[in-house]
Symmetry: C2
Subunit: 394 residues, 2 copies
Amino acid sequence: MISQFYKEMTGKESVIRKFFDYSRERAAKLGPDSVYNFSIGNPSVPVPQKFNDAMTELLQNEDPVALHGYSPTLGQPTTKACIARSLNERFGMNYEAKHIFPTSGAAGALSHALRCVAGAGDTVLTFAPYFPEYVPYVEGTGAKLRVVPADTTSFQINFEKFTEMMSPSVSAVLINSPNNPSGIVYTTETIKKLASILLEKQQEYGHEIFLITDEPYRELVFSGVDSPFVSKLYDNSICCYSFSKSLSLPGERIGYMAVNPKAKDADYLVPMAGQISRFTGHNCPSSIMQLAIERVINDTSDLSIYEKNAELLYNALSAQGYEIVKPMGTFYMFPKSPIPDANEFCWKAARELGLIIVPGDSFDCPGYFRISYCVATEQIERAIPLFEKLLAMV
Amino acid sequence: MISQFYKEMTGKESVIRKFFDYSRERAAKLGPDSVYNFSIGNPSVPVPQKFNDAMTELLQNEDPVALHGYSPTLGQPTTKACIARSLNERFGMNYEAKHIFPTSGAAGALSHALRCVAGAGDTVLTFAPYFPEYVPYVEGTGAKLRVVPADTTSFQINFEKFTEMMSPSVSAVLINSPNNPSGIVYTTETIKKLASILLEKQQEYGHEIFLITDEPYRELVFSGVDSPFVSKLYDNSICCYSFSKSLSLPGERIGYMAVNPKAKDADYLVPMAGQISRFTGHNCPSSIMQLAIERVINDTSDLSIYEKNAELLYNALSAQGYEIVKPMGTFYMFPKSPIPDANEFCWKAARELGLIIVPGDSFDCPGYFRISYCVATEQIERAIPLFEKLLAMV
């Protein structure tokens, strides 16, 4: 008897995937120049050479039995200490190695953090627009995900709706800033207001409400943008990070969960994550990857192209008449669809012009579309006139 | 509110861990020569140089954006095809790439395979002695693990008890051969008998019963031993493999799930595993690790030391009067404790002689103890007289 639950899920491709697949078919049929793929959030710049050099050096100089041996259940001690030190220096925190749990990317961090603080009967709140994988991440814990509708004027938090949706069953709130798909960064004002509501509700309900922060885009913030370190502003928080975007190595599955040292039961949460791994079969990330990350802990890829692309695309599309909240980071922007049905709009863009963009419906925010501009600037330059053409067609 | 379920688990160290920790304390106090650590199943021989060379070559010659980029959800196509080809050539199977799902070690493979075929209300049967992590692996699916008592005369399957314990709720049977902790390999006769019972029970219950084979020790089989490829003998089977022991890289977390092409719904199971990953946050293994494995798919570390150690230790301890079923593979053996309480026996060995061995209670087989002989042969030579001394002390 195979699981009907998972069987019924197979074959139901995500909308993003459908657009991606269409782009491949079109490229095969009409040639690669017929497609302008803005559908996927894959870093387009290389990992720093220093990282590959660190890997090579480890392979050449370390004892292979130790190098490739089991990492301790709660992660390589030197890696944990190195991550803690870097966060403390950069953000004025007081992490110790014991608060850091290396994980297989942000997906691994979120799946552990959510299981630490949510289970059957609990509610986790998040904010539209949001990364669609939050649904299985949260459902995997037994809890329910409920989504606070977007504030589409700024893509900051819709506090009115949020306050209405708070209830005693809320054990965790999950935020993603810098945000996929909006490209917006929550301001210090937004985070302070969120923290004050959570503090008040903790008091009212008589239990902790954990703030889980999904931060894979933390290093992708544009110049001059206010980007607070959320855990500095709210104690019951767990930061979930991935090196995928900052170091351009999403396939290597390396990230971490950092438990706020001031959180209630802070010293329990990493050991709990170690227990959770036993149930999900999700052990530590690769040993060599943990050790290599130490050597580039404060480095990033050259991320300047994302800001350059953002500027170019935002200015051109705004001038053409698209309504866009100006992105503050990431490699996404999230314009309003000129017709109410963004799905129809995106299919028209794909089929008639080869512009591959994805509808906001996937992010629980219909009527908008996402452009992923982690592409060569030249692709953007060639695509700009097509966006104008598209606007004229609808 | 943090999870009480996981919180209560923290601090409850495994018995194996307690012995391991004692060995470190003792070494710190009395010097490293005062300890003979036989508690841990960590490979003691290096990865083949060819693997490190393959990694270096990939780092130096591949486009870094592609090399470190996301692997497709169901794994690197070339890696999948390479694993299938190797299994087909070696075992006369007909795997295609679509039947292979690369995972983070055997833990990852088992957690996916079990979720494919077991859930709430189901029973999974396994056989003592067994790897204690099977409990959380199975409970993580919502199913219950029930354990068939050991046949301690041979550590093959206790078929009488097995047949008694079969019931319509059994959706999967989980076996581990070559076996941790017994060192025994199930013979062709054992597997054929198991298969015929499963076929009969499938008929009787009107549903499939999947055989999940946990095979991290597949390449660690001693000369002349009959070691059938289980999936050749039973169609509804999923093979769960890890390269950890054969290539001595347990920290790198690389293995796979191979779905028997003749299994019911064979073509669904890998796509289902892709869905399961979304709920556990357990994505593909590291991209570079998948690609490097291709280059050493039919290689192993020099595993001969394990057989040499087995021979030496088995002959010496048997001559001393220990009752041992002769190991046929792995780097474990599982002698009978000379006193009924193996826990007491192992603590005496540790405290009075520095011999670190672990009681069979951890493997649901009281009255026995496990010796892990993945150590330098010289350690075994020095320890042999101490085993004799120990026998005289009890």
